[in-house]
C-alpha cells in the first residue's frame, strides 16, 4: 500500500478563487492510501516544493499527488523536487485542477466537485504507480531543415555556423522561397533579392550545409536525436555535376507555353527551366509534363545544344536515406485560392491581381520587366484600387479567421512605390483596420498617407465589375463618411490571405507534429516555447507556425536554430521510461501491435515460455524500449491486453476511470 501525500495548490487566485482548495485537501484524506494532505498558495515555489520534501521525510510518503496546473507546466518541477527528497520521480501524479477545472468553471461548488474527482483519479493512479528509471539514447549530430525559403536558409546557416551538419530539403528547383519573388521589402524598401541572394550563396558555399533542391521528404521514422529520413530527389533530367548553367538549353527549348510558377503564371517559361536568374543551384530542371521529348519521344534539342553534355533524359528519382538528430520545419506559405471570392472578379479580369502578382509586375526581372502595366492590354494604369483583408479576418468559412499580418505593410509599400515612380497614378486602399505594429512600421504607413498622398478609405469593397471599356467598376463603402463609393479603376490589387503551404499537412503527419485547424504547426507552448513543436526534436521556423513578416521570420529562424543546436550539442538524451512491454503469457503473437507501431519498435521472436507448467515455443512480441516512445497505440490494439505501458498501465487508466465514475 502506498503512503500518499496530496498537495493542493491555490495558484494565487487562479485556482483558489473558483475551487475550495481546503475542501479538496480535506476530501483527499478520505481516499485510500492518502496519509497527508495540505493546501498552499504556490506549490511550484521554493517554499511549496520544500513542503512536499518535508512531508515525504516526515510521513515516509511513497507517492505524491499535486493538484495544480497542467502537468505540461510543472510536472517536471515536482518530479525533480521529490527526487531531491529521495523518491522516484515517477511516483508523482499531477491532477490538473486549473486548465481542466478552475479556468473553465464559474460556480465554486461545481468546480470544487470536479477538482475532488480529478484528485481522486490521480490518487487512484498513484496507488498503482511503480518507480521507473529512464534509459539513454544517442544524438545524431546532424539537422534537417524542410523548406529552403528565408526561414530555412537562416536556420540552416545558424546551425551550420555552430559547427553542425545541416541538410536543406527544398521542393522547388531552387532555394529562395517566397522572398525571392518579392520586389522590395518594408520598411526600408531595399531590394529583396539584394539581401536574400547573399544568404543563398552563403548557404550553398557553406561546408556544413548540403542542399537538396527539387526534393521532398518521403518518410520519417525514429525519434528525437535519432530520426531516419528518406528524401526523394526528383529526377532533374540534368546532371548537376556537368551543367555549367549557361542557359542555352532554355533559350532553344521549343516548348515555351507553361505558366511560370515563379512569376505566378503571369508569363510562360520553357519546359527546361531555372525558376529565376539567381537560382541556387543554377542548374535547370526538365518539366517532364511539358517537355516534347518526354511527351512524344521526338525533339531532344536541349541535349543537342548542351556543350557540357549534361542533359540526361534517363535520370531517375533517387532516394537518399540520412539520419538526423533534429528536424526544423520551414515550409512557408502560399496565397489562398480566390475562387470563393468571385465578387472581386479575379477569375474574370486579368487586371484584378493579387499582391504577390504585383510584386512580380514591379520587379525588373518580372513579366513586364518592372513596368507597371495592365496585364490585359499593356497600358499603364491611372487609377489603382487595393483591397485589404481578402480572405483574412473572415467570419465565414470562405476565408481564414486570422489576420495575415503582412498585408497592411506590403500594401503601404506598394502604394508608396507606385506613387513615387508614377506620380500621376491615383492609389486608393480599402481597409478594415491598418495594423502596423513593428519597428518603424507605423512611420512607414504614415509616410504613404502623408508624404505620398495615398487615399486610404476605411471600408470594404462589395463588388468589382469588369466594364466593356476595359475598366473595372469598384463598388465599396466609406465607413467614416458613411457613404457608398463607386469608382472606376484600371487595376485592382487583392491582398489575399496567406495560408500554410498545403504540403505541410503531409509533413506534419510524417513527423507526428501537431497542426491546428488552419494547418499552422502548433507550438509546444504559445508563449514560452514558440519555436518547438510538442513532438520532441521538431522545431518550427517561419510562417509554417503562424503569419510573419521577414524580420520576424528571420528572428524565429534563429531561435529555432538555437533550440536545434541545444539538442545537437548533447551527447546523450534521457529516454522516457514510459515504454510498452508485452506479457509473454498473454501474447497471441498476432502482430497487430507491430502493425500499428509508428516507431517500428516491436519485433517478434519464437520463445519458449512456461505457461503454468506447460512449456511451449510461442511467437512473442518484443519491444525495443530505445525505440518505443510510449504512445500507447499497441496497448489499445492488443486484443488480449498483453501489451501494457509503464506509467500508464491499463490498470492505472481503468482505476482512474473507476475513480471518476465512483
Amino acid at each position: 500500500m502506498q503512503r500518499i501525500g496530496v498537495f493542493v495548490c491555490h495558484c494565487g487566485s487562479n485556482i483558489a478563487a473558483t475551487v475550495d482548495v481546503k475542501k479538496v485537501a480535506e476530501m483527499a484524506l478520505m481516499e485510500p492510501g492518502v496519509v497527508h494532505a495540505e493546501d498552499y498558495q504556490y506549490m511550484c515555489s521554493e517554499a511549496g516544493q520544500a513542503r512536499i520534501q518535508e512531508a515525504i521525510k516526515e510521513k515516509n510518503l511513497t507517492g505524491i499527488v499535486v493538484c495544480s496546473c497542467s502537468p505540461r507546466m510543472h510536472e517536471n518541477t515536482f518530479r525533480k523536487a521529490v527526487e531531491r527528497a529521495g523518491l522516484n520521480p515517477y511516483m508523482v501524479e499531477v491532477a490538473n485542477i486549473r486548465e481542466h477545472c478552475s479556468w473553465i468553471h464559474k460556480d465554486i461548488e461545481e468546480a470544487t466537485k470536479k477538482a475532488v474527482i480529478l484528485m481522486r483519479a490521480a490518487v487512484a493512479k498513484v496507488n498503482l504507480n511503480t518507480p521507473l528509471k529512464p534509459g539513454e539514447s544517442r544524438v545524431t549530430k546532424r539537422a534537417l531543415v524542410i523548406g529552403g525559403g528565408i526561414a530555412g536558409i537562416q536556420t540552416a546557416l545558424d546551425i551550420a555556423d555552430a559547427g553542425y551538419k545541416v541538410d536543406i530539403v527544398e521542393k522547388t528547383p531552387s532555394i529562395g522561397g517566397r522572398m525571392s519573388q518579392v520586389d522590395k521589402t518594408f520598411p526600408t524598401l531595399d531590394c529583396s533579392a539584394c539581401i536574400l541572394t547573399p544568404k543563398m550563396v552563403e548557404a550553398n558555399a557553406h561546408e556544413n550545409i548540403t542542399i537538396y533542391t527539387y526534393s521532398e521528404v518521403e518518410n520519417v521514422s525514429g525519434f528525437v536525436g535519432d530520426f531516419t529520413v528518406d528524401i526523394r530527389k526528383k529526377a532533374r533530367s540534368v546532371d548537376m555535376t556537368k551543367c555549367t548553367g549557361c542557359g542555352v538549353c532554355q533559350e532553344k527549348c521549343p516548348s515555351k507555353k507553361t505558366p511560370s510558377e515563379f512569376n505566378r503564371g503571369l508569363n510562360n517559361r520553357s519546359a527546361i527551366y531555372t525558376p529565376f536568374a539567381q537560382a541556387i543551384p543554377n542548374v535547370p530542371v526538365i518539366d517532364r509534363e511539358a517537355c516534347i521529348k518526354f511527351k512524344t519521344g521526338k525533339c531532344g534539342l536541349c541535349s543537342k545544344v548542351c556543350q557540357a553534355g549534361a542533359i540526361d533524359y534517363d535520370q531517375k528519382d533517387e532516394i537518399i536515406t540520412e539520419k538526423y538528430g533534429a528536424i526544423v520545419v520551414a515550409t512557408g506559405f502560399d496565397m489562398i485560392k480566390l475562387d470563393k471570392y468571385d465578387e472581386y472578379a479575379y477569375s474574370q479580369s486579368k487586371d484584378v491581381i493579387t499582391s504577390l502578382e504585383l510584386e512580380r509586375i514591379m520587379n525588373a526581372a518580372g513579366p513586364t520587366k518592372g513596368h507597371l502595366e495592365r496585364m490585359s492590354d499593356g497600358k499603364p494604369p491611372k487609377e489603382m484600387v487595393f483591397i485589404q483583408c481578402v480572405g483574412s479576418r473572415c467570419s465565414d468559412d470562405r476565408g481564414k479567421s486570422y489576420c495575415s499580418k503582412i498585408c497592411c505593410m506590403y500594401t503601404a509599400k506598394h502604394a508608396m512605390l507606385i506613387r513615387d515612380k508614377y506620380p500621376d497614378v491615383n492609389v486608393t486602399v480599402f481597409y478594415i483596420d491598418v495594423r502596423t505594429p513593428g519597428k518603424n512600421f507605423d512611420e512607414f504607413y504614415r509616410r504613404a498617407v502623408e508624404d505620398y498622398g495615398v487615399n486610404y478609405i476605411k471600408g470594404q469593397v462589395g463588388k468589382v465589375i469588369p466594364q466593356s471599356n476595359g475598366k473595372l467598376l469598384v463598388r465599396g463603402v466609406d465607413l467614416i463618411d458613411q457613404k457608398q463609393i463607386v469608382k472606376e479603376a484600371d487595376m485592382v490589387v487583392l491582398a489575399a490571405a496567406i495560408e500554410p503551404n498545403p504540403d505541410v499537412r503531409k509533413i506534419a503527419t510524417m513527423l507526428t507534429a501537431s497542426i491546428d485547424t488552419n494547418n499552422f504547426l502548433t507550438e509546444a507552448h504559445a508563449k514560452l516555447r514558440p519555436v518547438e513543436s510538442p513532438t520532441a526534436g521538431i522545431f518550427l521556423s517561419g510562417v509554417c507556425q503562424g503569419p510573419k513578416d521577414i524580420p520576424e521570420t528571420v528572428s524565429q529562424a534563429g531561435a529555432a536554430a538555437v533550440k536545434a543546436i541545444g539538442l545537437l550539442a548533447k551527447d546523450k538524451l534521457m529516454t522516457n521510461p514510459c515504454t510498452a512491454h508485452s506479457d509473454e503469457l498473454l501474447c497471441n503473437g498476432c502482430s497487430n501491435c507491430a502493425n500499428v507501431c509508428p516507431y517500428g519498435a516491436i519485433s517478434y521472436e519464437d520463445k519458449e515460455v512456461n505457461d503454468h507448467g506447460k512449456r511451449e515455443v510461442r511467437r512473442i512480441a518484443q519491444v525495443n524500449s530505445a525505440l518505443c516512445q510510449g504512445c500507447g497505440a499497441c496497448t489499445v490494439t492488443c486484443p488480449s491486453g498483453a501489451m501494457d505501458l509503464q506509467g500508464f498501465s491499463n490498470r492505472q487508466i481503468l482505476a482512474e476511470v473507476d475513480a471518476i465514475c465512483r
Binding site: L586, C590, N595, D611, P639, D658
Partner: protein, 324 residues
C-alpha cells in the same frame, strides 16, 4: 458427401494428412458437431449437410500445433476466417490441407422451428448434393415442406459469395445465396433515436446468460487468455458484479474483434438466446467501410486491415464527432 469422404480417407491412407477435421452426426437430425477423424472406421459418423454451419477455422489453431497435417473442411465463408488467422500468425498454413467444401446456404433450425414446425424426426433436402429447392420436414404431426431459403441462416441471405479464398482442393458445388443487404438492419438501427437504440440493445442484451458461446465460437476471439478470464484485468470482475455486465461484455468483445471480424456470423448462430450479436460487428464493418473504403477482413492475406495500417488518406478522428 461421398466424394468428400472418399478423398479424406485416401489422403489419410497415403499419409498426406494425420487427421481430418469435419463434422459428425449429432443425436438429432439437425445438430452435427465438429469432430476429428483419424481412422477409417471413424468416418461412419461423418456428415456434411445443410446443418454443418460450424466454422472449423478456429479449431485449426490447436490442430496445426499437432504432429502432421490436418485436413480441414472449409465452406467459402469459413476461408475468410482462416485467412485472418493466417495473418495473425495463429494457424500454420503449412500444416493444413484445406478442402473447400461446396455450400448452398446453411440452415437455421431455430428459424425452422419458429415457423411452427414441431416434433421434428427427420429432414430431407438438407443434403448438400441434393439440389432440391425445398426442405421436407418429417414431424410427429406429418410432413411439412418449406422453401430451402426460408430455413436459411441470416448470414446466408447476405452471403459473401461462393468463392473459397484459400484451399488446396475443392469438392462440391457452391451457390451464392445472397438476397439481402447486410447493412439494412444496421442502417435501421442507426436511424433510431438514441433512447430507442438504447432500449433496443437493452432488450436484446438482457437476454444474455453469459454462457460465452459467442466468444468460444468466434474465430477472432481466439486469445490465449481472454481478458474476461484473466485476473490481470479488472474487467472480468467488473463484468460479473455489475448490472451493466452483459452490455460491457458484448461491447468490449465487439471492440476487440473490430477490423478483424470477417462477419462469419458464428456469434449469432451459436447464441442460445437468439441475440443478434452480429449487429455490433456489422456496425463496425459499416463504419470501417465508410471511413476507409470497403474492406473485407480475411479476403486477401496481403492486405493490412484499415485499423492496423496508416495512409495519408485516412480520415481524421474528428469525422466520428462530425458525423454524430
Amino acid at each position: 458427401m461421398q466424394e468428400l469422404i472418399a478423398r479424406a480417407k485416401e489422403l489419410l491412407a497415403n499419409g498426406t494428412v494425420a487427421r481430418v477435421l469435419g463434422w459428425k452426426a449429432g443425436d438429432l437430425p439437425y445438430n452435427p458437431e465438429p469432430a476429428y477423424f483419424e481412422k477409417e472406421e471413424d468416418f461412419k459418423d461423418f456428415v456434411y449437410n445443410g446443418f454443418c454451419g460450424a466454422n472449423l477455422s478456429k479449431y485449426m489453431i490447436e490442430a496445426t500445433k499437432l504432429e502432421g497435417k490436418t485436413l480441414v473442411c472449409l465452406k467459402p465463408c469459413d476461408t475468410y476466417s482462416f485467412n485472418q488467422l493466417i495473418m495473425e500468425h495463429r494457424v500454420d498454413r503449412e500444416k493444413a490441407y484445406i478442402i473447400g467444401v461446396g455450400c448452398k446456404g446453411k440452415l437455421d433450425i431455430e428459424k425452422i422451428k419458429k415457423q411452427g414446425i414441431k416434433g421434428i424426426q427427420s429432414i430431407s433436402g438438407a443434403e448438400i448434393t441434393d439440389d432440391a429447392e425445398t426442405l421436407t420436414i418429417n414431424t410427429l404431426y406429418g410432413d411439412k415442406t418449406i422453401p430451402y431459403a426460408d430455413g436459411m441462416l441470416e448470414r446466408c441471405h447476405v452471403c459473401k459469395g461462393k468463392e473459397h479464398k484459400i484451399y488446396d482442393e475443392i469438392i462440391g458445388e457452391s451457390k451464392d445465396t445472397k438476397d439481402a443487404d447486410r447493412f439494412d438492419e444496421v442502417s435501421r438501427i442507426e436511424s433510431m433515436k438514441p433512447e430507442e437504440k438504447f432500449a433496443f440493445f437493452q432488450k436484446e442484451l438482457s437476454k444474455c446468460i453469459r454462457c460465452n458461446a459467442c466468444r468460444n465460437a468466434c474465430p477472432a476471439c481466439s486469445c490465449r487468455k481472454c481478458v474476461f478470464d484473466s485476473n490481470k484485468f479488472d474487467s472480468s470482475q467488473k463484468a460479473n458484479v455489475d448490472s451493466f455486465e452483459e452490455k460491457m461484455f458484448h461491447i468490449i468483445r465487439a471492440f476487440h474483434v473490430a477490423g478483424r471480424c470477417t462477419d462469419c456470423g458464428e456469434c449469432s448462430r451459436v447464441c442460445p438466446q437468439g441475440i443478434p450479436l452480429h449487429l455490433f460487428n456489422r456496425k463496425f464493418i459499416k463504419d470501417i467501410d465508410e471511413f476507409y473504403g470497403e474492406f473485407q477482413a480475411g479476403e486477401d492475406i496481403t492486405v493490412k486491415g484499415p485499423l492496423t495500417s496508416f495512409t495519408f488518406e485516412d480520415v481524421e478522428p474528428s469525422v466520428v464527432a462530425e458525423r454524430g
